[in-house]
Amino acid sequence: MVPGGEDKIMDVNQMPKGTVVTGVIGDDVHVIGIRLLEHALERAGFKVVRLGVQVSQEEFVNAAIETKADAILISSLGGHAKVFAAGLKDKCTESGLAGVRLYLGGQLLIRGMGWEDIEKMYKGMGFDRVYPPETKLSKAILDLRTDLQR
């Protein structure tokens, strides 16, 4: 139930816009960002498979296989994203998930590095979209819609 009947935005008979797997990677337990994103994604019509916190690469890959996911959305706030995200793209490709989009957001800043370089680094690691802190949730959802229509 949603106050205001805003849930009408999502027609229950409408096909889901896509299936996404969400979670916080590695040793991290910060959930506020990903939880808000999950609420927003569901409202926007996506089927969301929530994996919660301290999720390993294997868990992301397995969940994406099981649910035939279109994208994996990963959050990291602990500052260890680089360590925990390395090699994920290869694992996806090996598991037949080459077409699954990879998104990364959260506290990705690294001391001494500008955002452009950081974004380039993660894109080099196989991520389709990389978001700095304070990104609007609606921007990520819009990007996702665009990417999945391609």
Binding site: P3, V29, V31, G52, L137
Partner: protein, 484 residues
């Protein structure tokens, strides 16, 4: 496992204790009967429930915050400084995160490294490694009561050592730990661990040592209206009382709108008494512990000081016996002894400035908040009772499974996570999504109207970006984001 809300039998408790105490060598030091005598040898002014009873009678609001450094020497220095320079009424021991997950070997490496470097490398005090004898040195180094402050899914050994060591209050509970400190553990396991902990306190109580347990419900993070936390807290209060507790601190998580906080906190106190009496726990004494519980705290010291002042004022208006405040270092790191002492001094000054005044908030507005908190909390609690068909542990697990007890920001996949709150135009927190909460249309409509008013002021619908922006706004010292 088939958990029920029934007092553990002496045999169950004894058999479980043997296993718990065998977990690490210092467990062997725990001799509960000797510990009871140790508690009785301490002056009454060092016993938390006794100190709180005096505060309740005189209308005092006492102050405490979490504090934890890595070695015994550092921790003694820290709490003595808080007492002597900060004039602390109450002190606390925060436990490091390695100890909370039973990595005592890792904690030992942290101690060794801290001794070598002179720095404090752990994020709290590794109480299990120091054992009962070390903990008693800590307790004996100060003149005021000391509380345990931490969250953990299985704190049984920590609690055994802390209480045998002379702590007389505890700030960890099952649901709060479950929502925020577990990855994939079942709520049943966490609840069962805490039934042991509550039985342990009950055991001390039955032998003449007053012990206090603070029950929190959930940490709202600016996105959970008060009733969500209150219903979870009152459910657990009854489960805890069954294990023989006699002193329970009802924790109210304020979110900064003073009318909402004061109205709802009064309801929490009233409902706490009512439900304890209804289930036959008439001899359980309650106190009110207030904490301003925000998703983040400002890192800049002047802003952090301001937040601390609001926290104390809000607690005092709620007539809380205990005000839990965050130090000026909360937004950035573990605090130094100087930051701790000046935070205590600042907090205490706020209380001193207002304590003789009689301030009443607008009674009509307070009445609305108290009423809404009451009907919402009752609706959830009664549904939990129905789900359990007379057993609250069963009811709690079923309610978590079905989202009747819910948390917008739970870390655990067992949490439904269907409910979400947002601040209205005055900064009070309202339900934006009610998930599976058993609310009437009137309740839902009340919240919808409040949120619509904020949307009108903003000039656009309240969405998830607004909630995220509000969270960010706290860093700059605002509850409400004014971003277009």
């Amino acid at each position: 496992m088939g958990i029920k809300s029934m007092k553990l039998t002496d045999t169950e408790f004894r058999q479980e204790r043997e296993k718990v105490l065998a977990e690490w060598p210092t467990g062997k030091e725990v001799d509960i009967d000797e510990a009871i005598e140790f508690h009785k040898s301490l002056p009454a002014t060092k016993n938390w429930p006794r100190r709180l009873r005096a505060a309740k009678e005189s209308g005092e609001t006492l102050l405490v915050t979490g504090m934890g450094h890595s070695t015994l020497e550092q921790q003694i220095e820290l709490i003595r400084y808080a007492q002597d320079v900060g004039h602390a009424d109450l002190l606390a021991t925060s436990v490091d995160s390695l100890t909370r997950i039973h990595n005592y070997a890792g904690a030992q490496r942290g101690i060794d490294e801290s001794l070598k470097s002179g720095q404090s490398v752990l994020n709290g005090f590794p109480i299990v490694n120091y054992g009962v004898s070390g903990t008693r040195k800590l307790i004996q180094s100060v003149d005021v009561p000391v509380q345990m402050r931490f969250g953990a899914s299985d704190p049984r050994l920590i609690e055994e050592i802390a209480f045998a060591g002379g702590h007389s209050a505890n700030g960890a509970d099952a649901l709060h730990s479950f929502w925020n400190y577990t990855g994939k553990l079942s709520p049943e396991t966490v609840l069962r661990n805490f039934q042991y902990v509550y039985r342990l306190y009950g055991y001390y109580e039955e032998r003449g040592v007053p012990t206090s347990v603070a029950i929190q419900g959930l940490y709202p993070s600016g996105s959970a209206p008060p009733s969500l936390s209150m219903a979870a807290a009152l459910t657990e209060v009854l489960i805890a009382a069954e294990q023989g507790l006699k002193h329970i601190a009802l924790v109210f998580h304020g979110q900064g709108n003073m009318v909402q906080d004061v109205g709802a906190a009064r309801t929490l106190v009233n409902l706490g008494r009512e439900y304890l009496d209804r289930f036959g726990y008439k001899d359980v004494e309650t106190s009110l512990e207030f904490s301003l519980s925000l998703p983040r705290f400002p890192a800049e010291p002047p802003l952090a000081f301001a937040m601390m002042c609001l926290n104390c004022l809000d607690a005092w208006l709620c007539r809380a016996q205990v005000c839990v405040f965050r130090t000026t270092a909360e937004g950035k790191m573990i605090c130094s002894k100087e930051e701790l002492a000046e935070s205590y001094q600042c907090s205490k000054t706020i209380i001193n400035l207002v304590k003789d005044q009689k301030v009443e908030l607008d009674s009509r507005a307070l009445g609305v908040e108290a009423h809404m908190a009451e009907i919402e909390t009752r609706a959830i609690l009664e549904r939990v009772l129905d789900l359990g068909e007379g057993d609250l542990a069963i009811g709690t697990l079923s309610a978590i499974g079905s989202g009747v007890l819910d948390n917008p920001f739970g870390t655990n996949p067992y949490v439904a996570g269907k409910v979400l709150g947002a601040r209205d135009s005055e900064g009070a927190v309202r339900y934006m999504e009610c998930g599976n909460l058993p609310f009437t249309d009137d309740i839902i409509e009340f919240h919808r109207e409040k949120i619509a008013l904020r949307a009108k002021k903003l000039g656009h619908d309240l969405d998830y970006d607004t909630i995220a922006d509000d969270i960010s706004a706290i860093s700059a010292g605002f509850f409400l984001s004014h971003k277009p």
